[in-house]
Each structure stands twice: as C-alpha cells, then as structure tokens.
C-alpha cells in the first residue's frame, strides 16, 4: 500500500486481540494513535470543534463495543474511521433537523470574524454542504478519501468493496461534486 499512512495492520490485530482478551488498556494505544485523524475527519464533516470532539469520543466508544466484529481484514484505523464518518454524518443530519426546527439559531463560527475569515468560512461551508449532499456510497468514499485521508486501498479494506469499485465511486463522486461546487463550466 503505497499511500497508506495508517500502517501496521499486524499491530492492529494484536491490539484488537488484546482488548478482546480483556486488556482494556490496549485500546488506549489505538486511541492515542488515531485520535487526531478521527477528530480532524469529524471536524471536516461537522465544521464545529465541539461537535467533532463529541462525535470522535462516540466513535471510539462505538468501535470498542463493536471490536468483536473486527475481522482483521484491513487496518483498524480505516475501520474506525468509517465508524467516525458515519457517526459524523448522522450527527450532521440531526443538527440539520434541529436547525430546521429553530432557524433563528445563530451560527457560532462567523459572528465575530473579519470579512476575509467570513468568506473563507463560507467556502468551507460550501464544500462541507456539497459533500454532505452526495448520495451514498459516493459521499462515504469522498469523505474517507479527503476528510479521513485514507488511501483507496484502505477504503477498500474498510468498506469491504473491491478496489476498482472504490475508484469508480470516487470518480463518480467527484463528477457529481463539480456542479455542487460551481465547477460545471470548468469541468
């Protein structure tokens, strides 16, 4: 795996086996190794650090509960990242419902920023919204590739899909993103 940065699949299996045999502290190795990547992926999806913290913590707890279903067929980091991505999009949909119920809720990020930061924030919102608007499985593959920074091989391992299928999903996801990002004329 050339582009893999979550390396050490053998160690992943050892960590999982140790936790399943009752060594709860072995899970800390995984937490400390993956917390930055998980937090960033959640932050890129949700846009709010507080939400990203919550979802990252939830994701680790969910991964711990479901560790018995990890079959060791791919890196544990990719498996964990898939859980985090799903959780983040679930939180995003819940947040949208809340915002629809109370549309006067103020946006916390851009209230006291200068104009430049506001424009940058709007561009970031546009990217987040565009990716969130993709249908599955394109959204998941795009988010895992660009927000969670997994390689295509790692995505294939985490999702259980063939590598060529992952490539197709990513290519189609990017094609569908162009009009959503206002790039129809350029593409």
């Amino acid at each position: 795996m050339e582009a893999a940065w979550h390396d050490g699949a053998v160690d992943d299996r050892r960590i999982a086996d140790a936790v399943l045999e009752g060594d709860r502290d072995a899970f800390r190795i995984l937490v400390e190794r993956e917390q930055v990547a998980v937090f960033r992926a959640c932050l890129r999806i949700l846009g709010r650090p507080a939400d990203a913290e919550d979802v990252a913590q939830e994701s680790f707890v969910m991964a711990y509960r479901a560790l018995g279903s990890y079959r060791g067929e791919g890196p544990l980091g990719g498996w964990l990242m898939r859980i985090a991505t799903r959780q983040a999009y679930r939180r995003l949909s819940q947040r949208r419902e809340t915002l629809e119920l109370s549309p006067e809720l103020p946006q916390a990020s851009s209230s006291n920023d200068p104009v430049h930061a506001t424009l940058a924030g709007e561009r970031q919102d546009a990217v987040r919204t565009a990716v969130a608007a993709l249908s599955e499985p394109y959204r998941e593959v795009v988010a895992l590739r660009f927000f969670s920074e997994l390689s295509l091989e790692e995505i294939a391992g985490a999702t259980g899909r063939p590598l060529n299928t992952v490539k197709t999903h990513l290519r189609r996801g990017l094609e569908r993103l162009r009009p959503l990002l206002g790039q129809e004329a350029r593409a």
Binding site: A3, A66, V142, F146
Partner: protein, 199 residues
C-alpha cells in the same frame, strides 16, 4: 500528516488535476485542527464504563482460522474433526437415501408395459375368479356368470382386472339387473395388445 495529496493517477485518469479534488484538498488543509489534550483520557474514561467486548462468532471463526484466537490449536483440531464427521455423515446419509429410494416399489420401472403385457386379450377366465359368491338369501337369487353373456366392453381401460371388479348386488328382481352389475365384462384390450393376434 504524511499522507500524499490526491493524485488523479489514483483513479487512472492521466489528465489534469480534478478541480473538485483540488477544492477538497484545499479544504482539508485549511481544516486541520488538533483535538484537546484530554480527549484520550475522556475516551478511556467512557470506555472504562463499558462492558468488555466479545468476539462475534464470524470474527472468532476468522481469528481461529488465522490462528489468532486463544487455544486455536485445540479449536482448529476440533473444527477439523467436526468437519470430517459432517462430511462422512453426509456421504453415509446420501447413500442411505439412494438405497431407500431404490427400494421403493415401482420406482425405476415403467408400469404401462407391464399392464399391457399382462392383458393380451379378453379372457373369459377371469370371470369365475373374480366373481364373488353373493350372500345367499331366500329372496335373493345370485346371478350365474355363465348365464350372462359377457360382452366385450368398448372401454380401452388397461387395468381391466381391477376396474371390472364386480360388486355383488342383492337383486330382488332377478330379471333386470343380473347382467351388467354382477358379471364382470372382460375388457377388450387396446390395439397394442390386439396387435399380437395379427401375427
């Protein structure tokens, strides 16, 4: 972060950079915060309240086959022995099933030729053998088979012996009903059997 940026060659597209991918890359670079220092402690604190996870059956089997489950040597031997027993048992059961099916009467033989060959021609010999003795009664007169004139029926039924089984009727009026009801009528076999007489 050591991950290399997105390359269109990943998708086997040897062309200019994808504008959507470029925008996503730029976005990911701009949103690269770090988690609070106590995040790991909070996660582990939450995990300490969770029950210990258990290996699911399929994951256990996968770990077993990969030699990672505890006691995997004994367990692998047990799985191999159980598989062998299942295979042998399946073979024996299949053989027994074939034998039982083969022993069933009529299975594997075609019934129609046997019936045709058993009835080459209308035989009056059947008449006495299948004529029951009616219960004698003072008022009932059993009909005599010889008195009735058997007429070959037009039916081409192949199972003449069974279908022509007479039912003894207690006829109070002997004049009308003694012929057809009690006396079996020898059936005329179809042409298939009659063809033997041509030769």
């Amino acid at each position: 972060m050591s991950r290399p940026p997105f390359d269109p060659d990943e998708l086997e597209r040897h062309e200019d950079a994808d504008p959507a991918a470029e925008q996503l890359e730029a976005y990911a670079r701009s949103v690269a915060g770090t988690p609070p220092a106590d995040l790991a402690d909070r996660i582990m604190s939450a995990i300490s309240k969770e029950p210990a996870p258990r290996r699911s059956p399929d994951a256990w089997l996968a770990a077993l086959l990969a030699g990672r489950a505890p006691g995997h040597r004994w367990a692998r031997t047990g799985v191999a022995a159980a598989s062998l027993v299942l295979v042998v048992g399946g073979v024996l059961a299949a053989g027994e099933l074939v034998r039982v099916i083969g022993d069933r009467p009529g299975v594997g033989t075609s019934p129609s030729p046997a019936v045709v060959s058993a009835s080459p021609s209308p035989s009056p010999r059947l008449t006495p053998s299948i004529t029951p003795t009616p219960t004698p009664a003072p008022t009932v007169t059993p009909s005599e088979p010889d008195a009735s004139t058997p007429e070959p029926s037009d039916s081409s039924g192949s199972t003449f012996g069974q279908s022509a089984t007479p039912i003894p009727t207690e006829t109070e009026h002997e004049s009308d009903s003694h012929g057809g009801a009690e006396t079996p009528q020898p059936t005329e076999t179809p042409r298939a059997s009659g063809g033997g007489g041509d030769g």
